[in-house]
């Protein structure tokens, strides 16, 4: 047993030497997830105390010259949540075609009739038209909500003001938005991007490791290795050990950078974080073996792997939080290890969860890693046995 352990360490050590032999490539191996995570974090960061920095670009077309319509349009332009501009119909059509911006609100002729509206009154209702680019459906819904609010407020103000004498009408209730971080660590958009991009990079690192195994199997060096007294399972475990240990170091390096530069902190259990980092590192190694087990040409394995990794990254919420996904995709995502890894990392970082709360995520990630590892090893052992019998 000790001899086999030495063999595994020798094989893993060889991979480490090969990894470090190209120092620039090794450095990039640590730098790329950091750069990716930082870039995503900067894009989605919302500065504290501001107006969240997000204003919907909007064009307003006023085709009715009445004072009520003009007032509603002015209030839209003044809204803090909009970056609105009043333009002509022609200009709006032209700019909408170029998606600059993607949403246009049109107050058509006849809208002024709303100024004489009475509760319970009959007759046709004036219409506000929201024109949008097909890629801006969400923005259109956003604009529709703000237009409804502005027009209703103006209408209420005008209809209720006579009853209030000199006082200004205000909304009878207030809306307070509170960031739901369960009162613990507090949300940091960099936490999500560092977790997501690190995870995604680890999967790609696993893929590269698998492809190198695939390449090795086509090379003479594999013949020498297989003619040596080394059990095949030692080769596979050695490969997994080197892949997982390098991946683990990448997780630590990325989060260390995130801590010092962007304030990404482990607000919850440190043990949970380390176990989770270990789990995703083994998951990366298992992914690598699975890539090698797919077999075939390197180009084929690479294409399939990229497709699968991008798919599980997107569905697992590694790029954007999974709540933006459609319902079926959210349902599907619970069957993916990436979803559970993200839940775990979110838990131990900005949600500040303790070890026991993180245990489910850790266990599911470990379970997936074990399952994928078992499938890959079984497939590789089978294919190696076939090779020994002369089947390519």
């Amino acid at each position: 047993m000790r001899r086999q352990l030495n063999m595994i360490l020798t094989l893993a050590g060889k991979d480490w030497r090969l990894f470090l032999a190209d120092k620039r490539a090794a450095l990039l191996g640590f730098a790329v997830p950091i750069v990716l995570a930082s870039a995503f974090g900067i894009i989605f960061d919302k500065p504290e105390g501001g107006d969240n920095g997000v204003r919907l670009p909007l064009l307003v077309v006023v085709e009715d010259g009445g004072p009520f319509t003009a007032g509603a349009a002015s209030e839209l332009v003044a809204s803090r949540r909009l970056d609105a501009q009043i333009v002509t119909r022609g200009e709006a059509t032209q700019r909408l075609a170029n998606r600059r911006p993607g949403v246009v609100v049109v107050f058509p002729v006849g809208f002024e009739a709303l100024a004489t509206w009475k509760p319970g009154g009959a007759g046709p209702r004036p219409t506000v038209r929201v024109l949008y680019d097909p890629l801006c459906r969400s923005e259109a819904q956003w604009a529709e909500g703000i237009v409804s609010e502005v027009v209703m407020k103006k209408l209420a103000n005008e209809k209720l003001s006579p009853l209030l004498a000199d006082r200004t009408w205000t909304m009878p209730f207030a809306v307070e938005s509170v960031e739901a971080a369960e009162g613990r660590a507090g949300f940091n958009s960099y936490s999500h991007s560092f977790s997501g991009m690190t995870l995604q990079y680890l999967l790609f690192w696993g893929m590269e490791s698998g492809l190198s195994l695939l390449r090795d199997r086509q090379r003479s060096v594999w013949l020498r290795m297989r003619s040596a007294p080394v059990p095949f399972w030692c080769v596979l475990i050695g490969k997994s050990l080197s892949t997982a240990s390098i991946a683990f170091l990448q997780v630590l390096a990325t989060f260390t950078f995130g801590y010092f530069v962007f304030g990404v902190c482990i607000g919850g259990s440190w043990i949970g974080f380390l176990l989770l980092a270990l789990g995703v590192s083994v998951l990366a190694a298992a992914t690598g073996l699975l890539v090698a087990a797919i077999g075939g040409t390197e180009a084929r394995a690479r294409s399939l792997s990229i497709l699968a990794i991008l798919g599980v990254s997107m569905l697992g919420g590694l790029w954007l939080p999974s709540f933006v996904l459609p319902g079926w995709a959210r349902d599907l995502s619970v069957t993916l290890p990436t979803t559970w890894a993200m839940r775990g990392f979110d838990g131990v970082t900005w949600q500040g969860r303790n070890f026991w709360d993180s245990l489910v995520s850790i266990s599911v990630v470990a379970g997936f890693a074990a399952l994928i590892l078992s499938l890959a090893v079984a497939r590789l052992v089978f294919s190696e046995a076939r090779r020994r019998r002369g089947y390519a």
Binding site: N6, R17, L18, R219, R224, S227, R388, R389, G390
Partner: protein, 322 residues
């Protein structure tokens, strides 16, 4: 004094689907001798070597090295052999010393013993002064010598070499054979595959000619030449650069019937029914833009043994197993 049996192959059968690769091959290799497995492409010589190296399982038959059977004691068997694949089986990114250390550890060596073995293996192939150089920076001939050193790291009694000179220039080839002859003198057994007859004739003590998975002739080169039935003109050449496989295939189709062309790495073998036919074939090859650095016609006539149904199996020198 009888020499020890280093390798025994008894009635080895291997098939790849419906294709029979080895059909009842039996062969002994003894310590202190160099045996060449000779045959055209697809004759089964690399398959036989793979079986002996323990990387291909035969359908039936017995494989043993130094009295240790491959099927019952695979780990012990592996320690008895050192494989030198055709392409250098090395990590280009690591130094020669690091490669040797890695492969030595796979054989259970460590510490002082490993360091000594690394030094000895490098010394044997005269590469001590390049020990710390990255393999990727070495020439083809140097890589092949490090390739040989890696196979020697655990001091195996039997060396298996697959087309060891395929990509070497004549000088590197001579150096490699000088190394092999020194190893033979030190008591190592060597089994190598080649389809370059001049190498087999002058570099090997014994030759086994494979044809369609069967040994069709076996014995000392001089005996085989004496018993060979016909003469067949042959030419060996060294190409200036590698030639694409599909190009060689296309060229073969345009050669006259009876002309045989083999190109392995940068080495060429051309044989024909007559001198005139050989000259015409050479002219066609040269006019196709294949440049030869050197070429020669060997004095020996072993090539005729590589024709189907050439001669009955000749017996090698009888030896006692010990």
């Amino acid at each position: 004094m009888p020499r020890r049996l280093a390798l025994t192959l008894i009635d080895i059968r291997v098939s790849f689907g419906a294709t029979v690769a080895l059909d009842g091959v039996s062969l002994d290799v003894r310590s202190g001798e160099i045996v060449g497995l000779l045959g055209p492409n697809g004759s089964g010589k690399s398959t036989a070597l793979a079986v002996a190296a323990g990387i291909l399982d035969p359908l039936s038959g017995t494989v043993a090295a130094g009295g240790i059977r491959r099927d019952t004691q695979p780990a012990e068997y592996a320690k008895k052999i050192g494989l030198v694949p055709q392409e250098p089986a090395l990590y280009d990114e690591l130094s020669a010393e690091a490669n040797l250390t890695f492969f030595g550890r796979l054989y259970g060596l460590s510490g002082y013993e490993l360091n000594c073995r690394v030094a000895t293996a490098l010394d044997r192939v005269r590469m001590m002064d390049r020990a710390l150089d990255r393999v990727g920076t070495l020439s083809g001939g140097m890589k092949q010598r490090i390739n040989l050193a890696c196979a020697l790291i655990h001091d195996p009694p039997l060396l298996l070499l697959d087309e060891p000179t395929a990509a070497l220039d004549p000088k590197s080839r001579d150096l490699l054979f000088a190394d092999l002859h020194r190893l033979r003198e030190a008591g190592h057994a060597v089994l190598l595959t080649t389809h370059h007859l001049d190498e087999a004739e002058y570099g090997c003590d014994r030759i086994a000619v494979l044809e369609k998975g069967r040994i069709v002739a076996e014995g000392k080169p001089s005996d085989l030449v004496r018993h060979a039935p016909t003469d067949r003109p042959i030419l060996y050449g060294q190409l200036r650069e590698n030639v694409a496989h599909f190009f060689v295939k296309g060229l073969r189709k345009r050669l006259e019937a009876g002309v045989e062309l083999e190109i392995t790495g940068r080495r060429l073998r051309l044989s024909a029914e007559s001198q005139d036919q050989l000259g015409r074939a050479l002219g066609l090859i040269l006019s196709d833009g294949i440049h030869l650095e050197t070429f020669h016609t060997p004095p020996g006539r072993l090539d005729k043994l590589m024709r189907p149904s050439a001669v009955p199996v000749a017996q090698g020198e009888p030896c006692d197993a010990s």
